[in-house]
């Protein structure tokens, strides 16, 4: 049975904060951050935007591109995030209700640092493939925070991507050709219960975490599928900053031409669970029939999920039906000051 993406959508909040604005507050050198991390600005969620609201909007766009799938026929909803609004009460329950999917549905919230989104996609496609459900929805969304003044504050951003999976041949936009996961116990980044901000184990970030897992996962899936880097039209990797995804892509043998379409982080920041999935939506917005796409996520802790997709004849017919990811990224921006950002992100202590 052929399983694939039958609908997809992204949501980018309109607010942005420029790197200079953050650097000025902490007395940091904006230029060295911009060169070092290749970041210009990042998205900022409004006071009324969270993982649930962004998931609903991204998923509505996925339904618009699905050619009229009845939400009641969706048998599974997985929301991957490390910023679920409730500690106990699944985001998916509200997302399912808002989309008209409940109550005959299996719902779970997933967490795995920045790869919770691809975990949801993996489970969704697997259940469809097993014949357990007709359609399944996998969402990656985050409104993550870095501690004030920490390096992560320059990148932690907000956004969502949603993918509807199914096996109706006439609806498939991009067929799932292969999947592969590579996971170890690596203490590169964590957040304990009741802590506001995460910590990172400095010597474990970079090489032993991001690069090692992505490289092994991407090589693993290419070997499994019998493909080489030059067989792909596009490749997208987790993007914690602007620099890492290009470096790992080139190291694996991909060219800038294959990497730039899904490379959103310089102007979006790191949307954590939404990062590589949102890059995939930007690729699906422009991909042509027959194109092969490689997606490899990374989640600290640590692991990488990989997917190979093959674009069908139907994709170009639905691309324009919902807001394109790049259009959202480049237009209608509202730039905020650090003061406003601190207020929006709850960094100011208010009167009880």
């Amino acid at each position: 049975m052929t399983v694939g993406i039958i609908g997809y959508g992204a949501f980018v909040p309109r607010r942005r904060i420029r790197l200079e604005e953050i650097a000025a507050v902490w007395g940091a050198d904006a230029d060295s951050y911009r060169r070092g991390l290749q970041l210009h600005e990042k998205s900022v969620p409004g006071k009324d935007e969270d993982t649930i609201t962004m998931s609903v909007e991204a998923a509505r766009r996925a339904f618009v591109r699905s050619g009229g799938v009845d939400p009641a026929e969706v048998g599974a909803v997985y929301v991957g995030s490390e910023s679920h609004p409730y500690a106990v009460k699944p985001s998916g329950t509200i997302v399912g209700e808002a989309l008209g999917i409940n109550p005959e549905v299996h719902i779970a919230d997933l967490e795995f640092a920045c790869k919770a989104g691809t975990e949801g996609m993996y489970l969704a496609q697997s259940l469809v493939k097993a014949g357990e459900v007709k359609y399944a929805l996998g969402i990656g969304a985050d409104t993550s925070q870095g501690a004030p003044g920490d390096a992560l504050e320059y990148s932690a951003a907000a956004g969502a991507a949603a993918f509807l999976f199914g096996a109706d041949e006439e609806r498939i936009l991009a067929e799932v050709v292969a999947t592969y996961s590579w996971t170890t116990d690596t203490p590169d980044f964590w957040r304990r219960a009741y802590m506001h901000y995460p910590r990172h184990g400095s010597r474990f970030t970079g090489e032993p975490a991001y690069f090692r897992h992505i490289t092994n996962s991407a090589r693993g899936i290419m070997e499994k599928a019998g493909l080489e880097p030059e067989d792909f039209a596009f490749a997208v990797f987790h993007q914690p900053n602007g620099k890492f995804p290009i470096r790992v892509g080139k190291r694996l043998g991909f060219t800038m031409e294959q990497l730039e379409t899904g490379w959103l982080s310089p102007w979006l920041g790191n949307t954590y669970s939404g990062a590589s999935p949102m890059g995939l939506t930007a690729i699906l917005d422009v991909a042509r029939p027959g194109d092969l796409i490689l997606l490899t996520s990374f989640g600290s802790g640590a692991g990488s999920d990989s997917f190979v997709f093959r674009v069908t004849e139907r994709l170009p017919k639905v691309q324009e039906l919902a807001p394109l990811t790049r259009v959202q990224l480049d237009n209608d921006k509202i730039h905020v000051s650090y003061g406003e950002y601190a207020k929006l992100r709850g960094k100011i202590r208010m009167a009880e």
Partner: protein, 131 residues
């Protein structure tokens, strides 16, 4: 502050924009009603409102009620949707309230409306954003 019970009861209209259409005269009521204000009819069918419309009129609240202080100034608009239904909604993503005007195209988006402090339930619904 609305109660969790009321929020739950109103989920169809708040989350999915479900309205009641009078089977007698065709009037669409949002929020849904028990008796049609036009013909006193009591039979309704469920319809889902379109999410696109235009601002009819608006007001800017600069001294908002508790729970909305961080969103000040609040822009509240009367919006006419594509099907003719009118509803009062808060506007979101308005960088400058001065730019809001009658006829302005808007879209309804799913947003957080309010929450019962840091520990209480979170209320969701729709707001109008510039289209």
């Amino acid at each position: 502050m609305i109660s969790p019970a009321r929020s739950w009861r109103e989920a169809p209209q708040r989350y999915r924009l479900e309205a009641a259409k009078c089977t007698g005269c065709g009037r669409v009521c949002y929020p849904p009603r028990v008796v049609c204000p036009s013909c006193r009819g009591r039979d309704f069918e469920h319809v889902v409102l379109p999410r696109e419309g235009n601002v009819v009129t608006h007001t800017v609240v600069r001294v908002p009620p508790q729970g909305f202080v961080e969103q000040s100034p609040l822009t509240i608009a009367l919006v006419q949707l594509k099907d003719g239904t009118r509803l009062m909604v808060q506007m979101a993503d308005v960088a400058d309230p001065e730019t809001v005007h009658a006829g302005m195209p808007v879209r309804l988006e799913f947003r957080r409306i309010n929450s019962d402090g840091e520990a209480g339930v979170i209320y969701y619904g729709h707001k109008a954003v510039p289209a």
